[in-house]
Amino acid sequence: MLQHNSRSVLFGGLIAMLSMHGSGSLAGQRTSPVVSHGKAVYTAVGCYTCHGQSGGGSIYTGPPLVPLDLSDEALAAYVREPSGLMPPFGEKMLSDKDLKAIGAYLRSLPAGRPAAQIPLLAPYVKPSKGN
């Protein structure tokens, strides 16, 4: 298990890397320290592998997390003892502090434009005879 200082160095490096390469948020957004930390943890621990860098999820791996409508407590409770196929994350894997930061990060992510406002998707959601 990494010591706290080592994890801070790791996360700091990850923040730099993610800033260079982009990581699921709109390019150019400014982020607070806790949101940056949350993004780093979200990536380092691998939440994105199932839920996507932008929290969009996939029908085959994990539900979307954006917009996040869970409180910090509810998020933590589920992550510690998930009911589905998600593996449990114990305190050693994710501290309460890191979980809160992930929550802040997810809440900072844009929900995305509604499909009706995206020309390539609008035909599927507009009331019509069929799609």
Binding site: M1, L2, L10, H21, G22, S23, G24, S25, L26, A27, A44, V45, G46, Y48, T49, C50, G52, Q53, S54, G55, G56, G57, S58, I59, Y60, T61, P64, V66, L85, P87, P88, F89, G90, K92, M93, L94, P110, A111, G112, R113, P114, A115, I118, L120, L121, Y124, V125, G130, N131
Partner: protein, 648 residues
Amino acid sequence: MKEISEGRRRFLKGSVAVGAVGAATPAMALPKSTAKQTAPHAFPTQQRLQSERDHINTCAPDPESLEKGYSPGSDFMIDLLKAAEIEYVAAMPGASFRGLQESIVNYGGNKSPELITCVHEEISAAMCHGYAKIAGKPMACMVHSDVGLQHASMAIYNAWCDHAPMIVLAGNHLDASKRRPWIEWLHSMEDLGTMVRDFVKWDDTPVSLQHFSESFMRAREITMTPPYGPVLLVVDSELQEETIPADTKLTMPRRVEVSPPAADPAALNLAADMLVGAEFPIIVADYAARTAEGVGLLVQLAESLNAPVIDMGGKMNMPTNHYLNQTFRGKALLEKADIILGLEVTDIWGVVNDVPDLPVRQSHRTIAEQTKVIAVSANYGYMKGNVQNMSRYFAADLTIDADAQASLPQLIETVRRKLSASQRRAIEGKKTELEADFRAMRAAAAADAARSWDASPIGTGRLCMELWNQIKDLDWALVSETFQVSSWPQRLWDITEHHQYNGTSGGAGVGYGAPAAAGAALAHKGKGRIPVAIQPDGDLMVAPGTLWTLSHHKIPLLMIVHNNRAWHQESMHLQRMECRRDRNPDNWRIGTVMDDPSIDYATLAQSMGMWGKGPISDPEQLGSAIARALAVVKAGEPALLDVVSQPR
């Protein structure tokens, strides 16, 4: 399958192998004087050859006899390939089939068959796999004895699982007394078929040219008899290279097509009763539509019952814009169904049961206890014991050993005949709700795609819809799998023609994607179609040399690399292990992430003479990049776009 049994070894020891010569000519026994003169697998002596010629010359006249002499034997082999309408033979060169290769490029004029040069045998075999699913006929590949066959074996396994036809020609040096030291011993096997016997339909090691003639046509027949599957012919190097006296007459059986097995009428009658009497029947189709005709038949059956269809994607079975294609409402449908009709479903147990990936692997049924299952598949008549692709045993309520597509006409007619007027009205009455369910399903998919629409890395929904926007008015064909990109094409594209989706690898053996796409694109070439592939990065790196073959042979294909910089499935597996063991939360990346450095796929493509651009990580650039790449493909060349994308 055909093993060299002990009985056959004794036969070869004591006699010359002579089978029936064409359908009209009876088999004839050899004169006893030749009985003891031939050792197993020995090259025929002049006395034996003469005896063979005497035997052939005394047979009743065969209209298929060839008057010309053959020198060398591999020229005759090429004529067989031509008679079987093998258009292409893929190969990485190997000494054990040098005779065949020389005959292809000289005697055969390198046309029908044309040699497709590959840099790895897995590419050769996987190209055959992808090709056959579009062309509707087999392609051949040549592999260099044991080493080449090992390389090709992953692709052969995939084709076996995917029920795809393929003819594998493996060179070999049978006569040990004539092998050059060291190298021809390393590249020979006593029984080459053992390497792949568990996952080919049939294999043979002909010991004479006449034997080869009949075995080749049998191989072609078997590979194209449903359930389709790969076959192996071991081609002795001396048979290829021997000089045949000019007056030798060899015969060539004609190419025949075998009618697929249709279901027993009584069983179909019972199935129709169950379907007609159901309140909510559903259809699960996997490899149901072998050909385009199968799509129309499935639509007819589904519409007759207003039965929603779950298309598992082994083939393009059901048009995605048809209101009864409700694949992505599958869970709800299965829970509601009272009758489930499975058409060529590989894993029927897995459709109605599950074993979750949890520490305690508890099987459980996912459908109601009273739900009945009808299973129709030709696979019941053909399974192997060692390979496990048959999946877990499931005792259906009605099991029918038959080819689904061949059985559909009778099933449709029987269902329609049995429906009463009131039942027809009730069925028709379901349509409005089903149409609404279909629209809601598609709207939900669009809402999902919108979530990561403006994100970087690029959302896979954005990737697929930008591509769709560019190809939807063209004669397009998707020649890749889609689950790695959350099946967006099936969820949001209008896939209406059988050739527009080429199915999956079958065996989930990594490395299928690029070469199978190349093979499919080869089949589309010349038809004016625009093949497109969404190619996972990890899969591409197994056989990146495919890009060279695409470039060298000028095979038009738009390959968009779904570059999530990981073997993503394995990333999730390792993360799951770390969580369960409550260990280090960060090390799942070790051995699963393809980063540091990131691979430059555009430069990789360019290094092999292929147009390549990227990496693209700004979604706003995607549309114009795809347009530029498509212009290259429309001009008859392959093109690659590297898109940095979300995991799924």
